[in-house]
Symmetry: D2
């Protein structure tokens, strides 16, 4: 079977499954999404791409944006970035504040909220116009000059983001935030509000399957070694408290967001984005994970 046939076959099976999970209603605006959306898009390093279902509809990428902000900061700061944030899985969320204190304000990895907030702080210190510059980077990596933040989503998240305010101020008290917490958080909520389709996501992540170079024009976004490291980080830390499960079931590096999106990367082969808004209890797309598990089983290919 080729990719097209497999995508269709898996799509059919996933569609037939009962729609379990729940919308991330804690962000009010996300509660308004149609819970039955289901889209997938695959892009290969051979410049082939292919989608199915709602693959051309915008979703709120949420935490998936943390990969873009990390890549941009890593590119600018180099290896010294790891003095501000570590590369280890975080164990259960429950311990995060204690861990932060024990670790002197160094978050365990750049994909938990604490780490992503520190990355935002780094970007604010380095960029002239942080929001515009970040947007330019994502537009570049995805060859799509039309990508935009969604102010409504950003505002919605800000209106209930007490825990992130707590987190940012706590890290500030531990000395690992340089800028004003309000500024850092404003940037953070903004990034997470970026809207992209599955097609756009798959294409935007393709450079991570291609040794750091864009497939479209060969432009190097990250070095080979940096790319390998981003992939390793997505593998060990990309799915909150379910990273082990994802490695175990799917076997590809990836990153999820509470908007129900997941992007996974098969180095030297492809990137794939799925979207289904209902989340499992650990905050990852229920049908999204199911789709990727079936897909890697059918293609008989994973990094393991």
């Amino acid at each position: 079977m080729n990719y097209k046939e497999i995508l269709e076959k898996v799509m059919q099976r996933v569609r037939a499954e009962e729609s379990l999970g729940k919308l991330a209603t804690y962000i009010p605006e996300l509660g308004n999404v149609n819970p039955d959306k289901l889209g997938v898009h695959l892009a290969t390093v051979n410049n082939f791409d292919l989608g199915i279902g709602d693959n051309q509809e915008k979703l709120s990428i949420q935490s998936i944006a943390k990969v873009f902000s990390l890549c941009l900061a890593y590119k600018m700061v180099g290896e010294s970035i790891w003095k501000r944030v570590d590369v280890e899985p975080s164990g259960n969320p429950f311990n995060s504040l204690v861990q932060l204190e024990a670790d002197n304000g160094i978050p365990r990895n750049p994909f938990i909220n604490a780490g992503a907030i520190v990355i935002c702080d780094i970007l604010i210190s380095k960029l002239e116009t942080p929001k515009a510059d970040f947007l330019a980077f994502v537009r570049d990596v995805s060859d799509n000059p039309k990508l935009e933040f969604c102010q409504k989503i950003a505002d919605s998240e800000k209106s209930i983001g007490y825990r992130n305010v707590a987190l940012c101020n706590f890290i500030k008290s531990l000395g690992n935030i340089e800028n004003k917490p309000e500024e850092v958080l404003d940037f953070y909520f903004c990034l997470c509000s970026l809207e992209m389709t599955c097609q756009e996501l798959a294409k935007a992540f393709l450079f991570l399957a291609n040794g750091g170079k864009k497939v479209s024009d060969g432009k190097e976004m990250l070095t080979k070694s940096e790319t390998k490291r981003i992939n390793a980080l997505m593998q060990t830390c990309g799915f909150y408290d379910e990273s082990g499960e994802f490695a175990f079931e799917v076997g590809l590096p990836g990153k999820s967001g509470v908007g129900g999106g997941i992007v996974a990367v098969y180095p030297n082969n492809y990137s794939i984005a799925v979207w289904s808004p209902k989340l499992n209890p650990k905050g990852n797309s229920y049908k999204g994970m199911m789709f990727l598990e079936m897909f890697t089983t059918e293609t008989e290919a994973s990094i393991f």
Copy 2:
């Protein structure tokens, strides 16, 4: 460059590096090992193998044995094994007891001590003669009928193993140990005392690079899917609190032991064992990790 040239080149560089780290003197007998030992052995799925340095000297494999015990238990019990032990990284060691309580006695993964102890409990319930049966399994997987436990090491560890006694009794109090703690611990200390050379280790792990089948005779030890899962687990949880770092630097699934051994697996390609007794502060072989990092950099091949 071929593997032989790369092994030699990297060996030369690693030998030249200052010998940092410390012996694991907390187990008295391990403190007697010559700290300058350095051995490497590579075995490929094409039935080629090659060693250098002290690759034919016995080392105490310690926690590397947890991979064997897991494979044996998984083979016997199947997927229901994951009801007794989870597949997530554990965060920092500091929290392990709290996590255990919060998780009702279900250890975070089978490679932290708590998880390995539960696996021992499973094996004791299933095997007629646990020690002999375990040994038979490792002898089978490595085509080596001469492997033996080292009673002196087992006794040495037992004599100071208060923390493991604490752990096992704590899990028992939470209801996830069926047998007597003394029996479970006796078996656990015994497994960890197994002695193997780098050559033996590389060969014994080769089936994990070969979809679960032994390269020597094609015998299936685990299914393809089970093998993928063991590799995913080694990737996310194989190096204590440094699993992220190992994924990041080396990019291969693997498992380390406080005897200074590390085995890593490149699926569909090779398994490689290194040994250097001095450990970094997180308990992993200092020069072992350095060797593997240089090796994957030179071969330009990792799973990421």
Copy 3:
């Protein structure tokens, strides 16, 4: 109203209350006690004593024994005892193991299990025949040469005491236990099995209301200053995770046990023992606490 009238009035009201709470069935033998037992005994520094209900029936004093063992060890070792155990409340039980590690094996206070186990270790190191010497001390303080341990209760607790085995071995691993864990625990389970009546308990605690001197014969068991400190400790740490509640509701120093006994001390006035086997969710006698609250309300006397 005099004490007699108040005791009777309160007794009547407490008897009429619904019998909530549960027996401590986690120790099998304690589950066999008649849950409706209710006894009270008051002893004053004026050498007056008075009981009501089942005040002359034996109960398993359990953790109340920790006051006796602490007094004996304090008497023998003096202020240096506080190098081995601290004097602070422990917060919620949940954190105890983490706290122990953070505090290098120094338990927060001598009344949590960890602390009582360390006190046992101190006594074993100091006493020729620990069990007999301890018994002699309690017999002396209570003028009762017939007090005995209950081997059946000790064995019952030992048979399921995995968590205490865990605790003792954990402290040993942190360096704050000198003797063998088995010996320490054997002594610990033995102490807790002591059986006394409310009358015996009230009399045995009377020296703590009398500046350290026995009322019967004036013999000094502890100095005035030491006595004050034991009382302060009972006030802040005597009721597990409910010490604040007890200070708040009752306003007297005291100690409870899972056998359903509570002893409280009103310095310069009296000691009082109550017994009702059913425990509230925090492990303290449900009707016992109710009785003491009503009693201090009716007498309009507390230390606050």
Copy 4:
């Protein structure tokens, strides 16, 4: 010896002691205080009062204000206040955030920062003009219409209060703050900036030694039962992580502040305020605790 002689004797000895400890420089303005200040003031329920040293100089009362805010809120809300904040000691500070989460946002007691912040939230919901009404209450209780907040101190604390911002937002995220975090914190920092002399503090706390009634005019500020409970709370929770030590050494209920002030209450007898700005490692006045320990030793009177 009478109180006057004892105060003088103890003062002489404490003055002679080496001045250990450190100023609370984490609040910039507090770092400007003369570290050698030493004042004491005693007020008895017999309407006698007496001071020595710098007893008439203003100090920043800081956390001592938490007693006033609790009394005011308790008076207004009654026993239902304990649904919003518990009455248990908090164990070590380290765990506070974890505890908060485990306890669903209910702080362990009203004297840790989390609890005091919740009390502020209650007052804001209940009072028309919170700051003015609070000030009126303290002026009433101390018969001193001139007491004032110190805006400079409040601003100083606000400028570095990231951890309290974190705490308040965290509790808000757990649902136990009704008002805007900014408002709650503005009120909180304001209260803590209140300035009083030792004389004013001793007089202001005297109603707590007098069953809830002001000694000057007999006005009931709290009922007898409420007063007893406030005293019990100060006993078990008044000194951060050193409450047990204070009960143990001094044996009186009390409350300390990082400005170096301590007030203690001997029910039915007196209240006493001491001030010495240098703090021990746990954040309590070094010479203040020393003074009170010597004082209760010399007077041979404590609640235990």
